[in-house]
């Protein structure tokens, strides 16, 4: 079984998973890794920073002579936590609401769907700015804000998938053998909804990580410590781009590869199970 999964998901999938694992592990164990201190100023007398990439600074340094490589790894901590917390929140709240609405239908569905639509037609970034600007810019606030934004898309998918499956005959069959609502949701529907949700979770994590970057560009990212968005931002000025492009492009590449890996892995999982679904 696992052998077929390995084969069917393809080498690129495992490459993507590998990248995500590396980034996560680096982020997780950053304080114990033999990397430079991300907050230290490695000023070289007589040379004005930023220093271009070299043996000492693999990704170069920023304008303040701080090591970009270390900062990117520490930035991953924030970005990944935001991505994870946000999507976990979205999954739990949105997933539950979506499944329940899709299963119960009727008035519950109407109310829940309407709430979803309200959130979906509200430009999500505006909501994020509203909350972070008026509350505070702590890691938890931002992660949960993005989590709130994930509720509607996740919920809508959960609802749609549930609706699609709730019409299948195996659900009717389950009801025919006397299964209760809770059992049908947990045993019959959940296993089917979980796969597309899992794929969406990966995509959603990517979206949350990108959203942090967007907030950073509006000056509303986490206050303290490096994040990928903030790292890109400090390198994105015209002068920095012209004279020291590595400041922006280092984190851009890492962010991009991570988002790409998340997207790709999510996509593969989805299409893998879609194929199964068809029964090939």
């Amino acid at each position: 079984m696992s052998d077929t999964i390995t084969k069917r998901l393809g080498p690129l999938f495992w490459l993507a998973v590998g990248w995500l694992a590396i980034v996560s592990l680096l982020a997780l164990f950053a304080p114990w890794l033999p990397i430079k201190d991300p907050d230290s100023y490695f000023l070289v007398r007589g040379e004005r920073p930023p220093y271009s990439p070299s043996g000492t600074h693999w990704f170069g340094t920023d304008q303040d002579a701080r090591d970009m490589f270390a900062r990117i790894i520490y930035g991953a901590r924030v970005s990944l936590v935001i991505g994870f917390v946000a999507i976990a929140f979205g999954m739990v709240v949105g997933g539950t609401a979506g499944i329940v609405a899709g299963y119960l239908r009727g008035r519950t569905d109407k109310v829940v769907s309407f709430i979803f639509i309200v959130f979906l037609s509200f430009p999500s970034l505006v909501l994020a700015i509203l909350i972070t600007a008026l509350l505070d810019r702590g890691l938890v606030t931002i992660a949960l804000t993005l989590g709130v934004l994930a509720v509607a898309p996740v919920g809508r998918l959960a609802r749609a998938t549930t609706l699609a499956y709730a019409d299948r005959e195996f659900v009717t069959a389950a009801r025919a053998i006397g299964a209760g609502d809770r059992r049908i949701i947990v045993r019959e529907l959940l296993p089917n909804v979980v796969i597309p949700m899992g794929a969406l979770a990966l995509l959603g994590m990517a979206v949350a990580i990108v959203a942090e970057g967007g907030l950073a560009f509006l000056g509303l990212s986490v206050e303290k410590g490096p994040t990928w968005g903030k790292l890109i931002l400090i390198g994105a000025g015209s002068r920095e781009l012209e004279k020291s492009p590595w400041i922006a492009f280092g984190p851009i590449i890492v962010l991009f590869l991570t988002v790409l890996a998340l997207n790709y892995a999510g996509d593969r999982i989805r299409s893998y199970y879609d194929v199964r679904e068809i029964g090939l």
Binding site: F170, T172, A176, G178
Partner: protein, 334 residues
Amino acid sequence: MTDAPHLRPDIDAVLRVRDLVVDFPMKKGQRVHAVSGVSFDVARGETLGIVGESGCGKSTTGRAIMQMPRPTSGSVEFESAEMTALGRSDLREARTRVQMIFQDPISSLNPRRRVRDSVLDPLDIWQRGTDEERSDRVDAILEEVGIDPARAHDSRPHQFSGGQCQRIAIARALVLDPTLIICDEPVSALDVSVQAQVLNLLEDLKAAHGLTMIFIAHDLAVVKNVSDRVAVMYLGRLCEIADPDRLYARPAHPYTRVLLDSVPVPDPALGRATTGISGEPPSPIAPPSGCRFHPRCPAADERCRVEVPEMTEIEPGHHVACHHPLVTQVAISS
């Protein structure tokens, strides 16, 4: 509305359906009149075949018996209990004694669950016996329908063929020892060579378990093969009901006649009868007045347009709802 002379008060009926009406709301306030006043009964150990074209309400009738969804009106008396009056938990319990088998074998099994679990589930829900007893029961049933329990233990539906999935679905329906099985087009998605296997299996199981069965299908030959009594439906109404040999030999309703004439016979020697009917069934949203078949019926007159025909017995055990029943015999000789 209908006094239903075709119901048999004197038999040991497992199921009595009276004046069953099922409407579905549509957009713009319209309603689909899927089933309009259908009555029938099923004796213990009997197989009732329900036959008709798509949209005639035969599947809806089957599901309405299970109260999925609950019918708009009418009575469904199952083993002396009025299903339409049962509360949630009573209904759940009652449903275990009526089971359904569906048309699409693959979609009737949860694609993400191991098939053995799907069969085991009913026992789990009702906590029948010990774990071990349940397990043994499942294995026995799987063996009986011709599925290797070991394979079922760690395989998911997509690893089985359509015929095998249908066998598994049958096993799941049987595992709770139901009284009544409702088969909704159980073989129409299967290949002809596999169809015979499943039909034979159903016949065997029925005998072995003493089942009562409702067999819903569009294929007249298939219905004839398995049924003890056949009901013909058209546009939500019952047209004719009789035992199959009588019905197929002497159809009294013009529609039954047309249906039988339309079936291609795999024997060139028999030649082809021309059907003498045109058009297709109208929409159940706005069914015709009077006899619903009258716009297509060669024998229709003014009365048919206005008056809904009542069920009348034209020979013992043969009832027809027609103002002008056919009396001529159709020759289907072998």
